[in-house]
């Protein structure tokens, strides 16, 4: 076995590298910069060019980091390693490892549907495929980006038209940029929570069209505004200054009524950076892999389905990845919020 799942992460002994380790290790390949995949403390990191700045921003400016492009293989001790687009967030990669004809792909988090922003997912043929299963149930069918963006803009305009502000909730890395992309040219002031503003900076996004949140900003702008904030902002007192407002939450979990209601969202937008049921199935089949390792999400259900439906050798693997956490705090939001208020 070229890869092993050990107590520190997904390990390739031949190359001496870990992929998305959850403990500090010597060499770490990082699929993407979300905090459950990119953890602090490893000696050296390898990731895609587009993840570079955000990793330095999140893990520290002094980390030892090498970045490469998609499909630019490098070889370590006979193992040929390359990155391929995962379509999850900007810079997200699948990691392909090949040694003596055996090919493994660790997909990290991925989505198959293009979002108009991220380099689209590319299936990579392999023998062993490590897949997430965040939305690995046949109840999850996500809308296409153009339809989703249109409904988001519609809602904002209706809300703003009735004199109310719109608060849109999404992760600061990934979801927030998709929201801003959808809102381009909407013609109303857009206020960003500090975590999102800083993430944009780290991504090299143009922050010029936006206003960074500061205390009292709600009162200083006349008329309704759009506010984009991370999940931790829901229920926090600083949102009150934007009253009257409506709350729109962007998450794959918004597909379920119960989740929508628990969040007290006026509206839920089914926006996810993960693959839905169809996407997961397509992705797995497109690799042609016989051996599937199912990680974070509905893993036992999805593995059972893959074995029963397609006769694949599918098994579950325990990891510390979290997928799309609805109830938990956005990784950096707490810190940023403190800084901005």
């Amino acid at each position: 076995m070229l890869l092993q799942f050990d107590k520190d992460g997904i390990y390739c002994a031949q190359a001496g590298v870990y992929i998305d380790p959850w403990k500090p290790v010597d060499k770490a390949i990082i699929t993407h910069a979300h905090s459950d995949h990119a953890r602090w403390g490893s000696h050296s990191y390898l990731a895609h060019h587009d993840s570079g700045n955000i990793l330095r921003y999140r893990l520290g400016a002094d980390i030892q980091l090498q970045t490469i492009g998609y499909q630019e293989p490098l070889t370590i001790n006979g193992v040929r390693i390359s990155l391929h687009p995962a379509g999850h967030i900007i810079g997200s990669s699948q990691v392909r490892l090949e040694y003596q004809g055996e090919v493994w792909v660790v997909s990290g988090d991925y989505k198959v549907m293009p979002d108009g922003l991220t380099t689209p997912f590319e299936p990579v043929p392999c023998h062993h495929f490590v897949t997430e299963s965040t939305f690995g149930l046949p109840i999850y069918h996500f809308p296409e980006a153009p339809d989703l963006n249109a409904s988001l803009v519609d809602w904002c305009l209706r809300c703003l038209g009735s004199g109310k502000s719109c608060i849109l909730i999404g992760y600061s890395l990934g979801k927030a940029q998709r929201i801003l992309h959808a809102l381009e040219g909407i013609g109303f002031p857009v206020i960003l929570h500090g975590a999102i503003y800083n993430t944009n900076d780290a991504l090299g996004w143009n922050n010029e069209p936006y206003v960074r949140y500061s205390a009292g900003i709600g009162k200083s702008i006349r008329g309704p505004v759009i506010v984009v904030a991370p999940p931790s902002a829901v229920g926090s007192p600083w949102l009150r200054q934007f009253e009257p407002y409506e709350l729109g939450v962007c998450s794959g979990w918004m597909q379920l009524r119960g989740a929508r209601r628990r969040r007290n969202a006026d509206v839920g937008f089914v926006m996810s950076d993960h693959a839905d049921w169809r996407g997961l199935n397509e992705a797995v089949l497109a690799t042609g892999a016989e051996n599937i390792y199912v990680t974070h999400g509905y893993k036992s259900i999805f593995a059972k389905w893959l074995s029963g439906q397609y006769g694949l050798n599918a098994q579950t693997v325990d990891t510390l990845y979290e997928g799309e956490a609805l109830e938990q705090q956005d990784a950096d939001a707490g810190r940023e919020e403190g800084a901005s208020t």
Partner: protein, 532 residues
Amino acid sequence: MRGFTDLYYELDATTKTSSKVETLTRYFLSAKPEDSIWAIALLIGNRPKRPVKTNDLKAWATELAGIPAWLFDDAYSVVGDLAETITLLIDSQSVAGSATGLNELMQELQTISVLPDTGKKEKILSYWRVLPPRELYIFNKLITGAFRVGVSKLLVFKALAKAYGIDEKVIAHRFIGNWKPDTISLTDLLKEDETGDTISRPYPFCLAYALDVELESLGSIEEWQIERKYDGIRGQIIVRRGELFVWSRGEELLTDKFPEFGELTSCLPDGTVIDGEILPIVDGQIRSFNQMQKRTTRKALTKKILQEIPLKMVCYDLLEKDGKDLRDLPLQERRRSLEDIVVGSKAWHSSLELAPLLHAGAWSELDALRNDAKAVGCEGLMLKRKDSNYETGRKRGKWWKWKVDPYSIDAVLIYAQAGHGRRANLFTDYTFAVWDGDVLVPFTKAYSGLTDKELIELDAWIKRNTIEKFGPVRSVTPHWVFEIAFEGINESPRHKSGIALRFPRISRWRRDKALSEANTKKDLLNLLHATS
């Protein structure tokens, strides 16, 4: 059904009472009357029987979605709602709304139940294939279990009153009882007409809020009537045109369950409606609620059980006298008339009793009275303003209930299961245990009492501290102690622990208590013996 679907989603999207009433009023003004009557029935919970079996629906949806049955079950346990699960699995791509009216749809659903299985399937699938997602969800809600919307009956009546310019109280009275939307028209229901079915019609019950203000703030104690609060079945006894009707607070007609009251047609004058509590009373002693349940859940009422657990009504209000509605008279006057009727009747001390009035010279004496209540099988006290009219539904200020403090016990969380509906996908149904030596024995489940924030925190903890999974149930590391409050304790051969609690709920998360400080089985047994 498009109009009804829009209504549902609009009601669902707001928590404000005023906008709910507005939305409802707008619907009643714009919908066809034959659709409105169904909407009213569905909103106030007067729904027809399910036309198809749940298992059939599951099988057909599974087939349509092309998945194995186990996957349907897993999906269902995550979603927590059958109608929503089916809707999501079907994943409708349809965009056109359906032209079928609510009335037409409901009528058709009624006819489905008599079709052979293949016919049923064909019909249901013909809807599943064409309805767009929102309507599909509503359709599935209509053919599966509970159709619940976040509106109370009172709000529906308020909107009807607004839409039709009729007094709210009159509306509430006309729409109470067991009318069927397919046999009566909206116009007939709205018409004042005391014929046919309507002689059985009860009045909407007046309900009290739990006392949450200082007694002293209620003014002079002289202005208040003090009664015991009974722990039986709240009911209304109606005698009209020589016929007897017994209604429960849940608006179920229970006349046949209580043969005791059969004598009343000859004891009470026509046009009498009494409000009171139906209770098992033997030799002047109120028996436990447990006995009451034994009696009411029995399908066949044998002579033996009738003798063993005889029921009486403890009367506390008179709503109609000589066919005249007394609800706007002050309580004091209604009470006088009630006393005249009950005491003057042959049924007094047979099937009817009069609720005694308690007297206290000062508010400070009330606490003692309240604690005495438990000793005579009551739950606490009722405080009713002597000048109060008989309100429709729950209103603040005129009537208060003041219950005795509940029992409580500290217990350890040992199992958890995901909830349903709003709590789907969260571990919110808990099983608690007490110590028996060094073993934790489960004794009760509890579902409510924690805040949303606590639920989410506990859910995350449960997911990290699962020991084993048995189907949907997880056993967790014994760690947290919770204070469980409950209203009563009874022996129960059906439960493993041998006891059953009434209304158990979580009153506090005792983070301050160590595992060893939880109560023991012996503590529970002591409580059981002390109360029975």
